[in-house]
Amino acid sequence: MRLGKVEFSRWKNLPSLRLDLQPRILLVGPNASGKSNFLDVFRFMHEVCRPAGGLLPALANRLGLAGVRQRPTRTNAPLQLHFAFEDEARTRWHYELGMHAKGGPRSPRTEVAYERVLRNNRLLLNRPDAADHRDPERLSVTCLESPLANASFRPIRDFFASTGYCQPAGKLAAAEGSDAASEAIVSLLNGLPKRLRTVRLRQLESVLKSAVPRFQRLELSDASAPRPKVEAHFAVGKAGSMRASSDELSEGTYRLLHLISSVLAPHQLLLVEEPEAALGPAVIRHLAGIFHRLGGDTQIMLSSHSAELLADSGIDASEVVLFLPQSGGEARVVVAGEIPEIKALLEEGLSVGEVVLPRTAPSRLQELGLIP
């Protein structure tokens, strides 16, 4: 299943946007331009659809509707999230969700304003329906999240439920018990038949061996324990070897383990914030190609500031989504290939990185020089 078009309105600080998404999507823009907020739509949908998830917990995680809906709210126009998918059988799916605030200031609650599912343009679900009018409390949950209601469009639920997320700076958290890299490795390998498990482990180790000098292999200790630990073995001196647990690894090694395990895992969608973080430029140059080669059918959506990553000549302008702040305040979110001057420069042979990254420089950056 693959995401094609998305249309969002009133989500956090993003302008109304409509985008065509490719199998590989690179989000580029200055800091605080909305890239993470854009990724958060998909993390939100994941929290709605995952086991033990739902609309209410997903909103609660974000401080309620006020935390996700754009201010000001003079009207009660709904926050809108629309998605279009295509699956391997070329079936087209649409999922459209609207949310708004209900109830007074003393007991505010969030309700589904509308929820629609279409399969090849045929309506499978159109809420609010008669049952919702009879029992308005039904509007506090989506049909998407409920196995009692989503049988005819479960592939959409499965898509969001199998979304993965990979962000930088995991090593500090690892020391405090939340070890994203180890969890990613364990969840990658668990439940795989032995042969495939060996293949994945070898792929993971091969990337680490090429990118991290002295790295030898990985070992999963205590595979049956609730939180199996991952250990990395490094060559030391001429013939020695040392073991390091995940919180003892360098930031870059930890990051690479997390990143590659996430890419190898069978997510339908993988969200990555700044894959380049903590990695050397020589490694970063290979990332775009690695995502394609190891990613399989996973749709990968990543945000990046890296010239080396964007220098890959295989990146098409249709894969780059630009977040451009405007003087009015709201950013403009657009596929790079649709901007005329970008098209013109690309036709003259400049690479996507060369053309797109300069657009992300904040306009007031020159003022740095004026600070006494």
Binding site: A288, G289, S313, D316
Partner: protein, 210 residues
């Protein structure tokens, strides 16, 4: 016992880096690659060549660039470097681009792509657009994953596919044989020949001849 000679590579892109490394691996004890500079096309090399030439007093440089549409390598060098070439700097030009050297190993490339070697051009140095020729040959390959990696998806403006470098580097390191390919590419043959006699250490203190 030979000691390893320290050198710096200067390349236009990842593919050229792979080619040079594979060629140097024919002489594994002789070279110690301290760094690889560039990966920014020919502009960086053209701009920095005089600086590399001066720094060659201290360490060997192996520089590789594509000829592209320029008339001849000697002319290119004269345009980019008016002064004399330091003996420690090896300046090699792929005619007309790095992909020509891949095409030159016809049997190997045929095996890699799963096509008959006979359809591969027999004089790659004469190919006006070796990259386009390589992509056209890829279209004939029965290996879907290879086509997906090397060819840009339909309707795309990108010049190459999403794992162009990865796929070709696999060919370079696992299949491509520079000595075999050199029989079909004069520019590669010359590059290998110069590498064979390349001893920057031996003349490390020599001043450039004027």
């Amino acid at each position: 016992m030979k000691t390893a000679l320290p050198i710096i590579l200067v390349v236009e892109d990842l593919l050229s880096e792979g080619l040079l490394r594979r060629m140097l691996s024919e002489y594994p004890l002789w070279y110690d690659i301290h760094a690889v500079l560039g990966h920014e096309g020919y502009g960086f090399i053209k701009k920095r060549l005089p600086a590399f030439n001066r720094a060659a007093r201290r360490i060997g440089f192996v520089v590789m660039t594509d000829l592209d549409q320029n008339p001849c390598p000697a002319l290119l060098l004269r345009q980019w470097l008016p002064e004399a070439l330091h003996p420690n700097l090896l300046f090699r030009v792929a005619v007309r681009e790095a992909e020509s050297w891949l095409l030159a190993h016809r049997k190997g490339l045929g095996r890699f792509l799963g096509i008959k070697p006979e359809v591969i051009p027999s004089d790659p140095d004469a190919e006006p657009d070796a990259k386009a020729a390589l992509l056209a040959l890829t279209r004939q390959s029965p290996h879907a994953e290879l086509r997906r990696a090397l060819l840009p998806a339909a309707g795309r403006r990108a010049a190459v596919g999403p794992d162009y470098n990865g796929a070709l580097l696999r060919f370079v390191y696992k299949v491509w044989k520079p000595t075999v390919a050199a029989r079909h590419s004069e520019s590669l043959r010359r590059a290998l020949h110069r590498l064979e006699c390349y001893h920057p250490e031996a003349i490390v203190e020599a001043e450039p001849q004027t």
